[in-house]
């Protein structure tokens, strides 16, 4: 019986040594391109904090928010980043449970993105409250003054949901990394790195006993993280759906937001990984097949989101409620003064991704890069449309108003990308960005001098006796 000598998912990875060398190489001294990118990201962070500081000093009026549009680009961007955070757990937990064998080489980066995206999202409620020194009011803590909290407010649910999500995804991210941190420890030369990895790897030695508990823990965490993918964005959607603002009060919001979050998250993973693969020469690890599989999940989620648009527009018409029709972000959006926002959302999220039906498009890396940019933009404008359009056209016509994002708001949004990118770039250089241990599981084991050759099958034939660990 022949043996697998080459992984078909990663045909260009030769052996276990290649994996260690290629992945741990990322942890060595960075090149110029990386430094420029990092400098840009840090510049973004400086801009973010400068603009925020000005807003604190001069007042929340700097944000451009005024009645009745109390929620503007900050909440839009908050929802956007929480959405981005979904892909990591989807890829690492749900695809793990579904035994999708193509996730190994990308899930670590996606998980890191999840953690950093939640960290970015977490800034925005604090920015939005205007007086950030009082932001601790959001936190669920016991107090005697009875000022906190209204448990019936979806905003409080949101604190719990996002907080739990951050805790679990950070734990999942860290636990999954332990064996790789040990690998990094063993090859680290720089003293501070050696020390860091030694501490973080918790004395991992890779014994059978350790692996046994590790795999169990990983499985249970995956099972725990899976419902969170659904719950977090459902709760975020209820920030809107619980209220009676036209266009917001809609039962489809929870599944629709979850699908949209996964959609935007995958788009962001691709937007980042496509250049990274090029810059760091990781073509062998992140292949066309990965792009294609993610494109398929994107197509599915795009169709779910499009179905939700249809249901929303239909129901707004069907109810014959004037407020729904004039204030709903779809019915009113398509024709009102914000038509550009609504159409941008529809074009980027519903129309352009229909190209993903074609295999050639799914397998073309430049095409996928462009499409994911469309989706990123479209998903931001989806949240913008939902928030701004509905708030600007509520029930009372004398209350109608227009909203224009201020310069401060725009700088803060752009700065948030810098903040996210800064963490991500630091992660690439400090922690192993690809799961060395899991990748090896799908690579052929190192047999004596058995090298490249055509892939053949190792599987026993037929419905043989089942294997149960």
């Amino acid at each position: 019986m022949a043996t697998v000598v080459r992984s078909e998912t990663h045909p260009d990875i030769g052996s276990y040594e290649d994996v260690n060398r290629d992945i741990l190489k990322l942890l060595s001294r960075p090149g110029r391109g990386y430094r420029i990118l990092l400098a840009l990201a840090i510049a973004g962070v400086i801009a973010l904090f400068t603009a925020w500081g000005l807003q604190i000093v001069l007042g929340i009026g700097m944000s451009g928010l005024r009645n009745p549009i109390g929620w503007g680009v900050y909440i839009t961007t908050f929802v956007f980043w929480v959405g981005i955070a979904h892909s990591g757990t989807l890829i690492s937990a749900i695809l793990y449970l579904f035994r999708a064998r193509w996730r190994q080489s990308i899930y670590r980066a996606a998980e890191a993105m999840t953690v950093f995206a939640v960290m970015t999202a977490g800034l925005f409620p604090v920015i939005h409250v205007g007086r950030p020194w009082l932001a601790y009011y959001l936190m669920p803590y016991p107090n005697q003054r009875m000022i906190w909290p209204n448990f019936r407010s979806p905003l409080v649910w949101d604190v719990f949901a996002v907080g739990t999500y951050f805790t679990v995804s950070a734990t999942f991210f860290y636990i999954g990394m332990i064996p790789d941190l040990a690998a990094a420890r063993d090859s680290a030369i720089v003293p501070w790195r050696k020390k860091l990895y030694s501490t973080l790897s918790l004395g991992w030695r890779g014994t059978n006993w350790e692996w046994k508990h590790f795999t169990r823990a990983y499985l249970y965490l995956a099972a725990l993280a899976t419902p969170l993918v659904l719950s977090v964005h459902s709760v975020v959607s209820w920030d809107f759906a619980m209220s009676l603002v036209p266009g917001w009060h809609s039962t489809v919001f929870a599944p629709y937001f979850v699908a949209g979050a996964i959609y935007s998250g995958l788009a962001m993973v691709l937007t980042l990984l496509i250049p990274i693969r090029k810059i760091f020469g990781l073509e062998a690890y992140f292949t066309t097949r990965h792009v294609e599989q993610m494109a398929k999940v994107m197509l599915l989620t795009s169709l779910i989101v499009s179905y939700a648009y249809l249901c929303e527009a239909f129901t707004a018409w069907y109810t014959f409620e004037p407020a729904e029709q004039t204030g709903g972000y779809l019915m009113f959006g398509a024709t009102g003064e914000y038509w550009w926002s609504a159409w941008l959302m529809l074009t980027c999220n519903a129309f352009v991704p229909q190209l993903l039906w074609f295999r050639q498009v799914r397998r073309s890396i430049p095409a996928m890069f462009v499409i994911t940019l469309f989706v990123n933009i479209g998903m931001w404008f989806e949240r913008y449309s939902i928030i701004v359009l509905s708030l600007s056209h509520e029930y009372e016509p004398w209350m109608w108003n227009q909203y224009r994002p201020s310069l401060t708001g725009m700088i803060i949004i752009l700065g948030s990308f810098g903040w996210f990118l800064m963490w991500f770039l630091l992660f690439l250089r400090v922690l192993p960005a690809v799961s060395v241990a899991e990748l090896k599981e799908v690579l052929p084991p190192p047999l004596r001098r058995l090298r490249a050759g055509p892939a053949t099958l190792r599987r026993p034939r037929g419905g043989a006796e089942e294997v149960r660990p």
Binding site: V4, S7, E8, T9, Y96, L97, R99, R101, L219, A223, P227, L230, S234, W238, A241, M242, L244, H249, S250, T251, V252, F253, A254, P255, L303, Y307, A308, C311, E312, T315, Y318, T319, F320, V442, A455, L457, R458, R459, P460, R461, G462, G463, A464, E466, V467, R468, P469
Partner: protein, 433 residues
């Protein structure tokens, strides 16, 4: 080709001829049901037709859901599902019957189902809420769904005809003639079938979503014309999908025992099916909750009336039973490994889910028609249900006596995955307790 499938050494499993016992049972059910329907028509035609509607919704839902399961595993390339996908597909035999049974529903819609026929509608709304349009859109969408489902089934079955040709001498020649037409040889047929099923599966999924959403809009939502819920379509067809998984689990357990498929359908396969069952039970609860909490919190009279009618006494009793059958019992019951791996136990929970779904389809329709003075559930609903059950059993037996219940061939894309060394059916890589 067959070297990867692993089933080349297994004999073709199907009923040799129409099994007598099953045929008699189906006939008895249909006759008893027809008598019940006739009696119900004499007593109260409105109630009889409403019982008919509820049962049509339930039996169509589970059949359509099961067929969707067989299409979903093609799209997702679920290697684990090889031994059960044909059993899921066998529900396609009921769909043409369901289409025929839909026609009377459409004819009596204006008389017995749609209350807005007698109401003054807001100007413009009659564009959507008018009986001819209701008939046309449901007929076209559901008809298209059934046609594509049959085409999908045809292409899934076709490559196996090669094996069957020798075995099937004298069995249903008319059916075989259709499958043998334009035969290009086993290899070429598998390539063709892979391509065609891969193309038809997503189309089928889209039609499933749209046709069942339309049923939900017209025969659930519009029964209370003031009510609106953007999720009603999604809630309805995902419930149907859960019903499809439950029906497949139940039928798998039965066929496995009756036809001796223990060597082909391994506990590992049952375990995977059980996990899916468990997951979609939770997903049903999620969708239920997503819809409920928005309505409950919103406190709008137009929406609340829908929920209140269903949760108020005496219908509330049914609502609680539904919640238990579709979520609480399967959730706690299927949490462990053993219930998911033991076909008989899984089938027990599937039966609970199916009963829950039958009651749920009742709950979606009846409270809109009748004031909540008593539980409108009696011999009429059960009796008409017998006729539908008989027709479903007859359709399934018809399928099982003609086609092999194990899919022998594998789509090209899955062979490719197997070549990569991914999980073979029944083999266990991860386990979720």
């Amino acid at each position: 080709m067959a070297e990867h499938s692993g089933y080349d050494e297994l004999p073709v499993r199907r009923f040799e001829g129409f099994p007598r016992g099953g045929a008699i049972a189906a006939a008895v059910l249909v006759v008893a049901g027809a008598i019940a329907f006739g009696a119900a028509l004499v007593v109260d035609p409105a109630r009889a037709w409403r019982a008919y509607m509820q049962n049509w919704m339930f039996f169509t839902s589970i059949s359509a859901g099961a067929v969707m399961l067989s299409a979903v595993v093609v799209m997702a390339r679920g290697l684990w599902s090889q031994p059960i996908r044909r059993i899921a597909l066998s529900f396609v035999s009921f769909l043409p019957v369901a289409f025929v049974l839909l026609i009377p529903i459409l004819i009596v819609s204006g008389t017995y189902y749609l209350p807005w026929v007698h109401e003054a509608l807001p100007r413009g709304k009659e564009l959507w809420l008018n009986v001819p349009f209701v008939i046309v859109r449901n007929l076209v969408l559901f008809g298209a769904f059934v046609c594509v489902a049959v085409a999908f089934a045809y292409w899934s079955l076709r490559p196996d005809v090669a094996v069957l040709r020798e075995e099937s001498a004298g069995v249903a020649p008319a059916v075989w003639a259709r499958f043998k037409r334009d035969w290009r040889g086993a290899e070429a047929e598998e390539v063709r079938a892979s391509h065609n099923t891969a193309t038809l599966a997503p189309i089928l999924a889209l039609l499933y979503v749209f046709s069942l959403s339309m049923v939900a809009f017209d025969y659930v939502m519009s029964l209370q014309p003031e009510f609106k819920s953007t999720l009603i379509g999604g809630y309805f067809f995902m419930g149907a999908f859960l019903g499809g998984i439950a029906a497949t689990s139940l039928l798998t357990a039965i066929y496995r025992r009756v036809l001796g498929l223990e060597d082909a359908i391994l506990p590992g396969n049952i375990h995977d099916l059980g996990k899916l069952h468990f997951a979609f039970s939770i997903f049903w609860a999620y969708l239920f909750w997503a819809q409920f909490i928005v309505i409950w919190y919103g406190l709008l009279t137009s929406e609340q009336s829908f929920v209140i009618r269903r949760f108020q006494a005496p219908n509330g009793t049914i609502a609680v039973i539904v919640l238990f059958c579709l979520f609480v019992i399967p959730f706690f019951g299927l949490l462990g490994v053993k219930p998911k791996r033991t076909p008989e136990i899984l089938a027990g929970f599937s039966s609970v889910v199916l009963i829950g779904l039958w009651l749920e389809r009742w709950l979606l329709t009846y409270p809109s028609w009748y004031p909540p003075t008593r539980i409108w559930l009696g011999w009429q609903e059960v009796g008409v249900g017998l006729a539908f059950a008989g027709l479903l059993v007859a359709s399934l037996l018809w399928f099982a006596s003609r086609f092999p219940l194990l899919q022998l061939w594998r789509p090209m894309a899955e062979l490719e995955l197997l070549g990569r060394g991914e999980d073979a059916p029944g083999e266990e890589v991860t386990q979720l307790t």
